[in-house]
């Protein structure tokens, strides 16, 4: 019983940790880097990578499985916070649907 309550608290804390981690990433980014990312998001290469990745991510989200954010970010060629905010969010994914590492 006590363990179940603690586990729930731990899950809330994990979510806040992830959120904080993404905020820190965004805060560290310089203006120049942000502009480069903006340009890349409009490029053909990004579109191709996104199209290749979309079916897999949609399937995972439909099954209710959390998506491994660093892996997605790597496949798209953008930082994890950008991958969530600018791409994953269009499929209705929120911070609750992503993880930074598999347990």
């Amino acid at each position: 019983m006590s363990s179940a309550i603690t586990e729930r608290i731990a899950d809330i804390c994990d979510l806040a940790r992830l959120n904080t981690e993404l905020v820190v990433m965004a805060r560290r980014r310089r203006r120049q880097e942000a502009e480069q990312i903006n340009e890349y998001l409009l490029s053909l290469e990004f579109q191709q990578r996104a199209e290749a990745l979309e079916p897999r991510v949609r399937a995972e989200l439909a099954q209710g499985r959390p998506v491994l954010l660093p892996e997605i970010a790597d496949a798209l060629g953008v930082p994890p916070d950008i991958a969530l905010a600018c791409w994953l969010s269009q499929f209705g994914a929120t911070i609750r649907d992503v993880v930074m590492e598999r347990k």
Binding site: I12, D14, A16, R17, T20, R28
Partner: protein
């Protein structure tokens, strides 16, 4: 004329007067003893003197209910032998041995190790787990300095998780090469706090609730019933422990010399006695 009390009766009267002089009130709980309250052979149990929690004095205004005071007195923090502690945390004995040899070991109360290996506190285990967690990013020595130096911060987080069911995180951040901060607070408020700070070089957060949860699950598998890890954050004993630690840390900071680093002091005799009274052996 009332008959004189017998020799045994006189002894009891003297004992009662001594107890009254010490400011202790005694409550007969022979009929309905609350769970966890130890009762002496005579059926009496000592409870704290009436204490006003609003004004911090002994006035009778806004007194805590007697049952509440008895509950706080009765709350005991768990202690286990080192062997059990290692089983509960999943920490390797060799790792602990190596940490102790190098002076990187940690324990509760800002100490380097528990006073007696046969009676390690459950909160010592949390110190070790935080140390391990931080060591993923920091050097083990730096992690041990953080765990010892900010015992008050993470202990408060643990107390709030355990007794208030609040999702609290312990975090340390590196602002510049030489400036760090450490603190604990509600998990949901951390992202906003970080967003309002200048960009940080490093930010490490420790999910103490996860460590506690893992320990509870291991204890369940081992068939050990864990008691309280730490006293509630509003318990007068907890408040006094933290106050003593902060005073000690401030006095040390004034005399800090990075070229002549000294190992941390062991808790004072008064503090050890207080912890001893508040601890109970689980196995």
């Amino acid at each position: 004329m009332a008959p004189l009390p017998s020799r045994a009766g006189m002894t009891e009267i003297r004992a009662t007067r001594r107890r009254q002089a010490r400011g202790l009130r005694y409550l007969n709980v022979a009929g309905g003893r609350p769970p966890g309250v130890s009762v002496s052979a005579t059926g009496w149990v000592a409870i704290a003197p009436p204490l006003c929690y609003t004004h911090g004095c002994t006035c009778t205004r806004s007194m805590q209910p007697v049952s509440e005071i008895a509950r706080m007195r009765a709350m005991l923090i768990g202690s286990v032998p080192l062997k059990t502690l290692l089983a509960l945390t999943g920490i390797n004995r060799e790792t602990l041995k190596s940490d102790r040899l190098r002076g990187y070991s940690v324990a509760a109360f800002g100490a380097a190790r528990s006073v007696v290996d046969e009676r390690c506190l459950l909160v010592d285990a949390i110190a070790m787990l935080i140390h391990n967690d931080l060591s993923g990013t920091l050097h083990r020595r730096a992690a041990s300095v953080v765990v010892r130096g900010f015992w008050d911060k993470w202990a408060e987080a643990l107390a709030r998780i355990e007794h208030k069911n609040e999702p609290v995180l312990f975090a340390i951040g590196q602002v510049s090469e030489t400036v760090w901060w450490a603190g604990s607070g509600l998990a949901r408020e951390l992202p906003l706090f970080v967003a309002n700070q200048p960009p940080m070089q490093r930010l490490l957060t420790v999910n103490i609730a996860r460590h506690k949860c893992n320990m509870e699950q291991r204890a369940e598998k081992l068939g050990i019933g864990l008691s309280t890890f730490i006293l509630p954050p509003d318990d007068p004993r907890f408040v006094s422990w933290m106050a003593e630690f902060r005073r000690d840390r401030e006095s040390r900071q004034e005399m800090f010399d990075p070229l002549h680093m000294k190992p941390p002091h062991s808790p004072s005799a008064r503090l050890r006695k207080s912890v001893e009274e508040a601890a109970c052996r689980l196995q």
